[in-house]
């Protein structure tokens, strides 16, 4: 029980004090989980972390799951996730309950007029950075996908599925007998 509460509290703190993208919380999680609590070796943590970031779903929660699971199995995951979710849940709930009251306020409206273009910049920069690192055929594909999702309204789910399928088929085609066993490195 003590470990479960520690897990809850550790991830509650992480959830309450990390702003912005998931990647911004890596240093804080690392400090808590590796340096302070010594739940993980650094290499092991980074290995598992790489996997958590390629799994679907919010990536802070995926991290909570693997840390919790290592210490206390499924219950550990549950407590860690609860801890990670609770701060943003409570804060956003308060905002949702009271923001509508500010909607008509002319100061708030003016502030949001300034914020909206900033939000687009915030998304456009990581998009361009990611685009730059792709080979040219993937670059064209990404641009086409962006256009079709936005202007035709096709669900991104189809593109995710198509990408995964293409990857599996091509791997199978190129490598008739892939070594699926791997093993710990």
């Amino acid at each position: 029980m003590k470990t479960l509460l520690q897990l809850f509290w550790t991830f509650f703190k992480i959830g309450a004090f990390t702003f912005g993208s998931g990647y911004a919380m890596i240093p804080m999680i690392e400090k808590e989980v590796v340096d302070r609590r010594k739940w993980f070796e650094r290499d092991e943590f980074y290995d598992q972390f790489a996997l958590a970031s390629s799994a679907p779903g919010p990536f802070a929660l995926n991290t909570a799951v693997f840390v919790g699971y290592k210490l206390k199995g499924w219950w550990g995951s549950l407590f860690a996730v609860l801890g990670a979710v609770l701060p943003s849940f409570l804060i956003i709930l308060l905002i949702a309950m009271y923001l509508s009251g500010f909607r008509g306020n002319r100061y708030v409206e003016a502030a949001f007029k300034g914020i909206r273009p900033a939000v687009i910049a915030l998304i456009a920069v990581p998009f361009i950075n990611m685009l730059k690192r792709l080979p040219w055929y993937f670059m064209l594909m990404a641009l086409a996908v962006a256009g079709v999702i936005c202007y035709v309204g096709v669900s991104p789910i189809w593109f995710i599925l198509a990408g995964a399928l293409a990857g599996v088929v091509l791997t199978w085609y190129e490598k008739p007998r892939p070594d699926g066993k791997g093993g710990a490195e």
């Binding site: 702003f19 919010p58 995926n62 799951v65 910049a121 998304i123 456009a124 999702i149 990857g167």
Partner: protein, 174 residues
């Protein structure tokens, strides 16, 4: 009925939410704005701004916010937040258990490689959808965008940038 729709939408957002918050934003847009009309693109942009300034993942913030505004009560919020937390609690647990086998699986690596341009396109789509007459009202919007773009490019802290653009908004539009 609305509860079931919300639950299923956020379940989808969770299970197909590869590639982090901004890529997930395109799924959220598709479900919330395009498909169900639960919110406008501008409202979503406002929530993204709020969620940059409050702690926690964007997906959780959006789920909590939309759950409340669509149903008007806390149960709606709890339901959507639970739905978006389910994939980590199920899929990620499995991934953790089969970690050693998955790590070097060629098929999984192939799938990941081909999902990359899709994820990149999703982030692009999120930016494109916000590019409309309601976010870009006049030349001042373009000026704010240009300054913020350069600032983000040179890694200026995003919270600081939102606070400054809010101040700019009050100065320019009041």
């Amino acid at each position: 009925m609305i509860y079931l729709q919300l639950f299923l939408s956020y379940l989808k957002i969770g299970f197909f939410g590869f590639g982090g918050g901004y890529a997930m934003l395109s799924l959220i847009q598709n479900e919330m704005v395009t498909r169900h009309g639960w919110m406008t693109a501008t409202e979503l942009a406002d929530i993204v701004a709020v969620s940059q300034m409050t702690p926690g993942p964007i997906a959780i913030n959006c789920a909590t916010y939309v759950g409340y505004t669509v149903t008007g009560n806390i149960w709606g919020s709890m339901l959507t937040t639970f739905a978006v937390s389910l994939p980590p609690l199920t899929l990620m647990v499995l991934i953790t258990i089969f970690y050693n086998r998955l790590k070097s699986n060629a098929y999984m690596q192939g799938a990941m490689k081909w999902m990359k341009p899709m994820i990149c396109g999703m982030i692009g789509a999120a930016a494109l959808l916000f590019l409309n007459g309601e976010t870009f009202i006049d030349w001042k919007s373009y000026a704010i965008f240009a300054v913020c773009f350069i600032a983000t490019w040179f890694k200026v802290d995003s919270i600081l940038m939102i606070v400054l653009s809010a101040a700019a908004g009050i100065l320019l539009y009041l």
